[in-house]
Every structure is written in C-alpha cells, then in structure tokens.
C-alpha cells in the first residue's frame, strides 16, 4: 500500500466520519502526468527552485513540485512508496538506499559537489582562521552528527588533518549548526559552502583540508515516475551546462568527471 493510498484512505475515513463526502476528490488526480515531483536534499532548495522554474518555461503544461528535506529521510520515504519522479541526494550513501531498493530508473549521475567551509558568526568573535583553530581550548564548535552527510564530511576532514576536536554539539542537520553560529552560541561550525553562502549573518571561511571531504550530489529518475520522459528531461537539465551555472552560482562545484 503506498503512502498516497493510505493518506487517501485516511482522508476518506475522516470525510465519511465528518460530512459524508465522497473520498475521492483529490484535485491533482487528472493532472498527474503533467506534474513532476522532485525529492531533493535541503541544500538544493534555492538552486533547484530556479532550475524548476526554467524547466516549466521549457515544458509548457508541466508543473514541477519539490519536496526538500534531509536526504536520508527522503530516501526512506521513496523506498516506502512515496510518489516521486526524481531524487537528488546530498550524498551517494542516501542514493544507494534508493538504488538498492530497486526504485531508481537507470544509474545515478553526480551533478554537483559541495565542500565544507568554516562558518563563523559575523565579525568572527572567536578569531577562527583555519581548521586547526577549531582545536583550540575554549573554542566552541558545532559539527553535524556523523549520521548525516555534513557530519560524515566534517569527520573525514578532521581525521584527515589529524585535528583533535571535542565539539560542543553534534547537530542533527546543517540548519541546526548554522542556527547556533548565527546566535553566537558557538564560535564556528563546519557546514557546506552553499549553506554558509545562503545564510545571513554568517561568514564562510574556506580551508584546504575540505578537499579531502568533498560531497558528491547524485541525481536519478525514479522507476515509478508517472512520466519517465519528463523525469529524464529534468535530470538532463540539471546535468546540463545551464543547470551547472545555476548550481555554481549557489556555491556548488562542478562534478569531478562530467
């Protein structure tokens, strides 16, 4: 039973219980084929919204709807039957969840890379200049928990550079880490360059060790896509030079091998 069907059943029950209306009046039903649903990592919000608008302009009659969220949560939802046409993840590991479940149509393509930067509050009160500064006594640092991609990347970068660091907190996601930077509760956090760039009141400091922990963003059209051709067309736009331009403007880097 798909989540959508379950939802419809539940809604139907509720409607029957309250007003006796018919269960089946979802407005988008007839337009299913003209709607493209994209599940994408939260860090892609700005760039994919822009790419989606361009896609709609190129494909009259098609509406692109996005669900942005944590990559792993999205992957779980897809394997549990959520109605998505395209999936773009912030880490290959989350893509593997989907491909292993046989939910992908074809092989995923890496379309962008994201690198870590040191996010500091405006004015840099902790005077953090480089990665080694994070290991100083009295410097409070937030990194993501290792279970989420930004945390795995941060751990890889720290390990590679041999820096001993006891973070103040292991945040559940990039937004949590950024919020603590913005409030001044920590002196620094390791976040993606795109996130630091999008956040207000936060400065991003590049550091060479981040090259050891580059995060690949894969994208794939899904097996259960209602209109496979449209789904493939969206993937093509993202991986095109046009898509790369939008992504680069947001702070992403082009993939290692195109």
């Amino acid at each position: 039973m798909t989540i959508r069907r379950a939802l419809a059943t539940l809604t139907g029950l509720a409607l029957l219980a309250t007003s006796g209306c018919t269960a089946d009046d979802r407005p988008d039903r007839t337009d299913d084929r003209r709607t493209l649903t994209v599940f994408a990592a939260a860090s892609l919000t700005e760039s994919f919204t822009a790419i989606g608008r361009e896609f709609e302009a190129n494909h009259p009659g098609v509406t692109v709807t996005f669900t942005f969220g944590g990559s792993s949560a999205l992957a779980t939802q897809i394997t549990q039957g959520a109605p998505a046409d395209v999936f773009a993840a912030a880490a290959p590991r989350n893509m593997t969840t989907v491909t292993d479940a046989g939910a992908a149509a074809g092989a995923p393509v890496v379309f962008a890379r994201n690198q870590l930067v040191i996010a500091v509050p405006k004015g840099n009160p902790g005077r953090v200049r480089r990665l080694a500064d994070l290991g100083r006594r009295g410097t409070k640092v937030a990194i993501c928990a290792e279970q989420v991609p930004c945390g795995a990347a941060a751990r890889a970068a720290l390990d590679a550079s041999g820096i001993e660091l006891v973070p103040a907190t292991l945040e559940q996601d990039v937004r949590g880490a950024l919020a603590k930077v913005r409030l001044g509760e920590v002196d620094a956090a390791l976040v993606y360059r795109t996130d630091a760039r999008a956040a207000a009141e936060v400065d991003g400091i590049e550091f060479p060790e981040s090259a050891r922990a580059v995060n690949d963003y894969p994208i794939v059209a899904l097996r259960d896509a209602r209109d496979p051709a449209t789904a493939r067309a969206f993937v093509d736009l993202v991986t095109s030079a046009r898509g790369a331009a939008v992504l680069t403007a947001a702070g992403f880097q082009p993939p290692a091998v195109l």
Binding site: Q147, E171, Q172, G176, L183, E185
Partner: protein, 272 residues
C-alpha cells in the same frame, strides 16, 4: 456512602456501556496502540541483544532518566508553589499568568529551545551575566538539558497541581489554622498531603514529557553523547542511517518509561 457502594458493586442500570461511547473508545485505543504494534513487528529481535549492548545506548538511556528525573524535581520545586499561587491567591493579572504557564504546551519545542538560547545563551539576556559572574554555562551542558526539559514539562505539573488545589476543600486549611498551624505548616502538613495524588499525577506526566523531550533539548543543549544526547536525540539520529537501531532505541525508551510509570503509579496513587 450509598453512592460509593453502588459504584463499586459494578451492577445496576448505570453499568451498561453505551455503544456510542464504546466504539470511539475502542478506535481511540487502537490509534494509540497500533503504532506500538508497528514498532514491535519491525523490531529486529535477532540482533536485539547486540544492539542493546552497543556503546552509547546505555549512556543515552541513563542520561535520559537522570535528566528527566532532575527536571521533574525542578518542576516540583518551582511548579508546586506556582500552582499554589495560581489556585489560592487573588492577584491582578492572574488569568494572564495562568495563560503564560501553558505557553510551552503550544509553543513548538524547537522554538522553546531557541527562546531559552535567547535568554540563557552566550549572548542571551541572562546567559552572559551568568557566565561572567557565576561561571555558569547552560547551552551544551547536561544542566541545559534539564532546564530545557523542565521548561517544556512544567505546565503538565502546574496544571495538574492547580486543579488538585482548586478541588481540595480549603476548610481543612482553616481547621489547621484554628489548631495553631501557621500558613507554611498548614501547607506542608495539610495542603500537600491532601493534594498528593494530584502532585503525583502531575509529576508522572511531567517526567514522561521530559523523557520524550526532543526539540527544545537539541536546540538549547545540542547533542553530544554522554553529555546532552538523550534517547530521543539518539533515536532521531539513528533514523538518519539505521532504521532498526532507531526502532530498538525507541523500544528501550518505551519499556523503561512504561515500567517506571506503572511502578510509580502503584506506589504513589495506591491504585492498581
């Protein structure tokens, strides 16, 4: 007395349960229990022993129980007097204060945690002062976890105790006064024992809420194993990578809390 006897015999016309109540009651119970069944069905029983002994699990569990208990004690120490004030003292703006007490119930816990940061954080209203003069830092500390949990759970205690105080017969306190008891003695020797069941019920709710607290905790106290990572935080992070681990952690939390609550209920409320 006759009414009591009638109730306890369980016979007579008042005992039949109307279907109009029974059906929704059964559906309500199903709604509460079915997700539990879902958890149990998905539990990876084979790998359960090794997952239970995995490093970090016991640490998070111990921290959870400790913090929830400390938060409940804090709520008792502050919430019972607050409830007394609300129930027994007429003062201007009492309605507003009563509404304010319930704010943590309606506030998304994450916002509650953020609000706590704005007050007790490094750059917060009081946090800087606390840090400079007392050397007390709350964010990212176990104390911070306790504070966040107390913030979220306090309304449960205050509401329960205030209700019990309002229902209690104030004339017992008058009787105590005529026997020479001052207000404080009356409160400790008469009022508190009279509302003890209400206090116990409130404390149990408070503890349960604190135990399950997630949003305010991770926002205010962050997440670090052994220091601020309670079970709900561990569950949430486990969900990112390992569904089975998350289910096992939830199950532990569930079993421990149900066991403790059932045990306390017998002892405190003296009811089965």
């Amino acid at each position: 007395m006759t009414a009591l006897r009638h109730l306890s015999t369980g016979r007579g016309p008042g005992r039949r349960v109307p279907a109009a109540l029974l059906l929704p009651a059964a559906l309500g119970l199903l709604l509460l229990v079915l997700p539990l069944v879902g958890l149990l069905l998905r539990t990876p029983w084979a790998s359960l022993p090794e997952r239970l002994t995995a490093p970090g699990v016991l640490t998070a569990l111990r921290l959870s129980v400790q913090c929830a208990t400390l938060a409940t004690l804090l709520c008792l120490a502050l919430g019972v007097p607050l409830a007394w004030l609300l129930a027994r003292v007429e003062f201007p703006g009492r309605r507003v204060v009563r509404a304010l007490v319930t704010v943590p119930l309606v506030l998304p816990p994450v916002v509650g945690g953020l609000a706590l940061l704005l007050v007790f954080g490094r750059r917060g209203l009081l946090g800087g002062w606390l840090d400079d003069t007392l050397g007390v830092t709350l964010p990212f500390t176990t104390t911070g976890v306790v504070l966040a949990e107390a913030f979220v759970a306090m309304p449960f205690l205050v509401i329960a105790v205030e209700g019990a105080l309002r229902a209690a017969d104030i004339r017992y306190e008058e009787a105590a006064a005529t026997l020479g008891a001052g207000r404080w003695t009356t409160f400790t020797h008469v009022t508190l024992p009279l509302v003890a069941p209400g206090v116990a019920a409130g404390a149990v709710l408070c503890w349960a809420r604190a135990l399950g607290e997630f949003g305010a905790t991770i926002t205010f106290a962050g997440n670090y194993p052994g220091r601020t990572q309670t079970m709900p935080l561990a569950v949430y992070l486990a969900l990112e990578t390992d569904l089975d681990a998350a289910i096992v952690l939830s199950l532990i939390l569930l079993v421990v809390s149900v066991a403790i609550l059932a045990g306390l209920r017998d002892r405190w409320l003296g009811s089965p």
